[in-house]
């Protein structure tokens, strides 16, 4: 099969001419393809950006932390909720039992939270997170006081009203003054400030500096014993997280006195589950949006086929002339395939340009790092060629099989 370059050149020349002669028509035809390309490209890029963003943010949670909680993090059905809401809360005794017996954890920490307004003299600061915890909090959260110190086991045991405040609380309530040694009112009680935590920044737009840490024993005393603790454990290394999960589950079952065959009346959660939840959400998103994109591409492709059929009919006489002069079937086939590939390439190129524009817009208006990667360009070329060939094949084949005598007679 020898395709000469001259025939190729003629095919390209004809395609350009045909497009120039029918600019409006060609543009309208490519609209479907354009929309399809934009939808698919932008969505893929945005989702990829979201994935990067989310896993980045989540990674600051720590991949080696395991949580023993009253409820699971993700409740998937009403029935599940009815089951779990009857669960008993996690008590101080359970925490102490776990803490005493666990072997695979670097640290075990109880945590109990509420959100309150805190006061210094006449100043109020609302919406502050109050954490009841132990000094192991520093290991779990990977943060230490920048000024002063954390409270000690002794202070926890003796239920002293002491606390460590977050950076934002320090800045907003104490401004230029040194907060150390000063008092802060939480839940109607006065606490002495032992330290100020280093700045920790934000996770998912959520400030990690707007908090106050107090001994969990004091928390339970001040805010009521009816609250459930959450027990957080940091594995000795990320590789044994699953083993730690199993160990904590076993210990907790002992602590709760559960018999073999009885289900857990608590949950063991960890960070990878959050990622899983997120992935499940985006999976649906993927499918829906790629579905829409594909339909648009299909519509565009059918549009191309339609226009090409019209083009073939319009040029029947011309095809007859070319055949009479010696053009072989495959030459005519090629001529029309080139034309349909040109039309689809216009749609794809414009679509990619618009996609890049939209992606840049999204990147500027949100924290999501959207990027149109290089492979998308290759995808675009691939699309052009395949759509052009696939949807142009039928009309091109029709053209190539025209009988020259009939074609020459066509008015």
């Amino acid at each position: 099969m020898k395709y000469s370059w001259t025939e190729f050149g003629e095919g390209v020349r004809i395609a350009l001419q045909a497009l120039k002669a029918n600019r409006m028509r060609s543009v309208l035809t490519t609209l479907g393809i354009l929309i399809g390309v934009v939808v698919v490209t932008v969505i893929i890029s945005v989702i990829q950006g979201m994935n990067t963003y989310v896993s980045g943010e989540l990674s600051s949670l720590g991949t080696d932390n395991v949580f023993v909680s009253q409820y699971p993090w993700m409740i998937n059905s009403w029935e599940e909720w009815l089951r779990v809401r009857k669960r008993p809360k996690i008590e101080k005794d359970h925490y102490e039992f776990l803490e005493a017996h666990v072997q695979l954890a670097e640290a075990v920490v109880p945590e109990v939270v509420t959100r309150r307004t805190v006061k210094y003299r006449t100043q109020d600061l609302g919406g502050v997170f109050i954490y009841g915890t132990t000094d192991k909090y520093m290991i779990i959260s990977n943060a230490v006081p920048e000024f002063g110190r954390f409270f000690t086991d002794n202070e926890i045991h003796h239920r002293r009203n002491v606390c460590v405040i977050g950076r934002e609380v320090a800045d907003k309530l104490y401004k230029n003054k040194d907060p150390l040694g000063k008092r802060i009112k939480i839940g109607g009680q006065s606490f002495r400030i032992l330290g100020v935590m280093e700045e920790r920044g934000q996770m998912f737009d959520f400030s990690m500096d707007n908090n106050v840490m107090i001994p969990y024993t004091v928390f339970l005393k001040v805010f009521g014993k009816h609250r459930s603790l959450e027990i957080q454990a940091k594995a000795l290394s990320p590789e044994i997280v699953n083993e730690l999960k199993d160990e904590l589950e076993a210990l907790m079952r002992r602590a709760r006195g559960l018999r073999v065959g009885q289900g857990n009346d608590f949950s063991v959660n960890e960070q990878s589950q959050l990622l899983e939840v997120y992935n499940n959400l985006t999976k649906v998103l993927w499918i829906v949006l790629i579905g829409i994109g594909s339909i648009a591409l299909l519509v565009g492709g059918i549009g191309i086929m339609n226009i090409m059929l019209v083009s073939v009919t319009e040029r029947t006489r011309e095809i007859g002339i070319r055949k009479a002069l010696g053009a072989k079937r495959r030459v005519i086939l090629w001529q029309f395939l080139v034309e349909s590939m040109f039309i689809s390439s216009i749609g794809v190129i414009l679509g990619l340009l618009i996609s890049i524009g939209l992606a840049t817009l999204v990147k500027q208006m949100s924290p999501i790092p959207v990027n149109i990667s290089a492979w998308v360009a290759f995808l675009g070329i691939g699309f052009t060629v395949s759509i052009g060939i696939f949807f142009g094949l039928y009309p091109a084949s029709k053209a190539s099989r025209l009988d020259p005598i009939e074609a020459l007679r066509y008015e």
Partner: protein, 225 residues
């Protein structure tokens, strides 16, 4: 012998009916002959022309063109033969409307892969031969009827074909322009080309050296002047 037709039959099947357009044609045409084929409607004149021009193949019989048996060739081979051996001139010119005269003449050269520089030279030569060098870059709609037909003749010549096959070449032209075209054919004939003219006009056929008359798919008369 340039053209040898032996017992050529051509049938068309239209639904249940069969039309016997050619019912046993025997014909020889030599190099550098100037032949006119005449006949009323239904005589098989057009069918014979299509056959001679390798646009179609016979149902029965043998067609030898310039030594090759083209009776049974497939589409691709026929296309090649047409490109190399036949120069068509049509009644309605059949030029590509959106291409220049030059590009129109280049077309047969494009389809046999002639490189661009050679193409241009050969096309310009052909246009010179028909006296249209100054109109090379005009489009058909910028040319008169006579000029268009000249372009068509140049196109027919450009590949140096065995035969020039003209189907009512003056049909769409006024008498004076028509005469000019017939003079052109005369010149080409003097230059060595073989010319086959298909017409129903007696006075056009008179330009040739031999008139073959068809009736009902047969050669009724075959007279040299």
């Amino acid at each position: 012998m340039m053209i040898e037709l032996k017992d050529i039959h051509k049938d068309y099947h239209l639904g249940m009916e069969t039309v016997h357009a050619l019912r046993g044609i025997n014909l020889n045409i030599d190099e550098n002959e100037y032949v006119a084929i005449m006949g009323p409607s239904g005589s098989g004149k057009s069918t014979l022309m299509n056959l001679l021009g390798c646009l179609d193949t016979a149902s029965e019989g043998i067609y030898r063109l310039n030594g090759s048996d083209v009776s049974d060739m497939n589409d691709d081979d026929l296309a090649e033969i047409r490109n190399r051996e036949i120069g068509f001139v049509f009644q309605n010119f059949n030029l590509l409307p959106r291409a220049s005269a030059l590009h129109n003449v280049e077309l047969p050269l494009i389809y046999n892969g002639t490189p661009a520089s050679d193409r241009r030279e050969l096309a310009e030569d052909a246009l010179k031969k028909v006296g249209l060098s100054d109109r090379m870059h005009h489009r058909p709609n910028e040319l008169s009827g006579g000029q268009r037909q000249r372009v068509a003749v140049a196109r027919a010549l450009v590949n140096n074909p065995s035969i020039i096959l003209a189907d009512e070449p003056t049909g769409n032209l006024d008498t004076r322009t028509g005469d000019e075209i017939m003079d052109l054919f005369e010149t080409l004939h003097d230059g060595g080309n073989t010319i086959i003219l298909v017409t129903h006009e007696e006075y056009i056929a008179e330009h040739s050296d031999r008139i073959i008359r068809l009736r009902d798919g047969h050669v009724e008369r075959d007279e040299a002047k």
